[in-house]
């Protein structure tokens, strides 16, 4: 059974029920009840060294290179990181503090008290089999205000952490494997 662990909010709300769990990640569970959290995530395999990948998540400038046009990060006070989400109507700023930083293994941030969104963002790295590189798993657990209705409203405003996470990981893979991010644009911006 899953242990209750603040770093694994997907386990929250499932209580301590004695129940055999399969090997699938918690976010793939058929239940909709993650203790009020929406839990999304994605794994990609990147042909690169875990230390190199980990560095990418420590540097806001490099992080911004993969986040896409609707999401960016800014350095906050101390070691805090502010995630800025551009919705169709306004910007949502979420201040987070690091909760894990194990070089080559894991990096995670959790929203601070009073943040507009209750969220945890976690990146875990594992060596991939057969020399394929590193399996990079990004995981976002968030609790929108006003529960499911708030979640649906967020989706309508263009906030889709699942797609944003998936696309960010794919950009990271492109950047680390090829040195560039694929684009069909025929001309430089500007």
């Amino acid at each position: 059974m899953r242990q209750h662990d603040p770093a694994h909010p997907q386990a929250m709300g499932q209580g301590e029920a004695e129940q055999d769990h399969d090997s699938a990640p918690g976010r793939t569970a058929r239940t909709l009840d993650f203790g009020g959290y929406q839990v999304v995530g994605r794994t990609v395999t990147i042909a690169a060294d875990p230390a190199l990948i980990h560095d990418h998540f420590r540097d806001p400038a490099r992080l911004n290179a993969i986040l896409g046009s609707h999401l960016r990060v800014e350095p906050g006070a101390g070691d805090h990181l502010v995630w800025v989400l551009a919705t169709s109507s306004r910007e949502i700023r979420v201040e987070t503090a690091p909760v894990h930083d194990r070089p080559g293994e894991m990096r995670a941030w959790r929203s601070v008290e009073g943040a507009e969104l209750d969220v945890e963002i976690k990146v875990q790295l594992r060596e991939a089999p057969a020399g394929r590189g590193t399996e990079v798993e990004a995981h976002v657990a968030y609790r929108p205000k006003w529960g499911l209705a708030g979640h649906l409203a967020a989706r309508l405003r263009g906030i889709d952490p699942k797609a944003q996470g998936r696309q960010a990981l794919k950009r990271l893979k492109m950047l680390l494997e090829t040195g560039e991010i694929a684009t069909a644009r025929n001309r430089r911006a500007g």
């Binding site: 042909a47 893979k173 494997e177 090829t178 025929n186």
Partner: protein, 398 residues
């Protein structure tokens, strides 16, 4: 620059478009000297492949001179290159395994979403095709931006003409891979449905691989004649019962391998589009699905089935029982062009393979729309059209 743009169903026009620039470090800009219209361009022309936008530049079979390179390119200005239609990074899991058409890194992340939803995994990037495959501007233009130019483009030595090497961009490797997927053993009987460019090159490749007898099936007299000129026997399905003919021509055993080079041409990528296409063109749609069923019925027990023909959606009445009870193997896929270009160029330079027999018409780029219309409407006579950017037409007369 001047470029052939898609505007809508049966509406393609040569227009003035902005010149491409180097965008990413590994890019090169190619000045196109020759570019061909492909059978799969007709899918776009007929608007049966979704994900095109008005103003998209078509063309995925092209070659030319390098005019500009990014800092990560290994090409040099002035080099003459043939460019594979598949855009491949050379570094991902699939590229390293030689499966270039499965590249994970060439389709921009935003345009990966649709095929990931549809097929479970995203498809790679192609030039001049649907936005499902990246929406990259294509090669029926004066200039093209070529990403990952250190991986795809094949440098051509001085000597061979454009027309001798142009088809390394798609249809020659596609025909070759179709024959390879048929796992031909010396002396095999091989049946090929469709004598379009890919079918004809599959005939040629199968014979080079040691097939004892290749039987080509079509109904266009000119195309059947080309197949015979390559050394194939032919069956005209308007004259003869194909199944019975194949059995009788293979000693009652059936062909050891069959190649479906027709595909469900009128059917696009998505299930709903497939339904539309079927509704629009009931006769053709039914015929084309019929080819694969026929091929599975014709092939001998334990035989091999190779499918280079393009399928994009769902097939109705797929004879799964035939497949299982006869113990058949199927191989298919978009062509891993980069895996074949070097060895096929070598065979061309050695005189083992000639591809120029296929070309029926040469037109200036400005007359591309005429080329599309005739290639679609007169398949017997218009077997392959080569477009020449920057040429007037008078200088293209033989």
């Amino acid at each position: 620059m001047r470029a052939l743009t898609w505007q809508g169903k049966h509406d393609v026009r040569v227009e003035t478009m902005p010149d491409p620039q180097i965008v990413n470090p590994r890019d090169a800009i190619i000045e196109v000297t020759s570019t061909a219209i492909c059978g799969s361009d007709l899918h776009l022309y007929d608007a049966v492949i979704p994900g095109l936008k008005a103003g998209d530049i078509l063309g995925h079979e092209f070659m030319g001179r390098v005019v500009e390179t990014g800092p990560g390119s290994t090409l040099k200005p002035g080099q003459r290159v043939v460019v594979p239609f598949t855009i491949s990074c050379g570094a991902c899991f699939f590229c390293r395994a030689g499966q270039f058409a499965a590249c994970d890194n060439s389709n921009p992340v935003e345009t990966q979403e649709a095929s990931e939803l549809l097929f479970g995994h995203p498809v790679s990037g192609f030039f001049g095709y649907s936005h499902l495959t990246g929406g990259y501007p294509g090669g029926q233009a004066e200039y093209v931006r070529v990403p990952f130019s250190d991986v795809g483009p094949l440098v051509i030595p001085e000597g061979p003409t454009d027309e001798e090497v142009l088809f390394l961009s798609d249809i020659l490797p596609t025909g070759w891979m179709a024959a390879e997927n048929a796992q031909i053993a010396p002396g095999d009987n091989v049946a090929v449905w469709g004598c379009g460019p890919v079918g004809l090159f599959a005939v040629q490749s199968a014979l080079l691989m040691g097939a004892g007898q290749v039987i080509a099936i079509d109904h266009h007299p000119r195309r059947l004649e080309l197949a015979r000129s390559l050394g194939a026997k032919t069956v005209d399905y308007r004259q003869s019962h194909v199944l019975e003919a194949l059995m009788e021509m293979t000693g009652g055993i059936g062909p050891d391998a069959v190649i479906d080079a027709v595909g469900m041409e009128s059917h696009g990528f998505s299930p709903d589009n497939l339904m539309d296409a079927a509704k629009q063109k009931i006769g053709i749609g039914a015929d084309r699905a019929h080819v694969l069923r026929l091929a599975l019925t014709a092939v001998r027990k334990g035989g091999r089935v190779s499918i280079p023909g393009v399928y994009g959606g769902l097939a109705d009445k797929f004879p799964l029982g035939t497949l299982m009870e006869k113990g058949l193997q199927i191989r298919t896929g978009q062509t891993h062009v980069q895996a074949y270009t070097k060895q096929l160029l070598h065979r061309i330079l050695e005189g083992e393979i000639d591809t120029t027999f296929l070309i029926s018409h040469r037109l200036p780029l400005e007359q591309a729309a005429t080329g599309y219309r005739n290639f679609r409407d007169n398949q017997n006579d218009w077997t392959k059209v080569v477009l020449k950017p920057g040429r007037s037409g008078a200088d293209l007369l033989p």
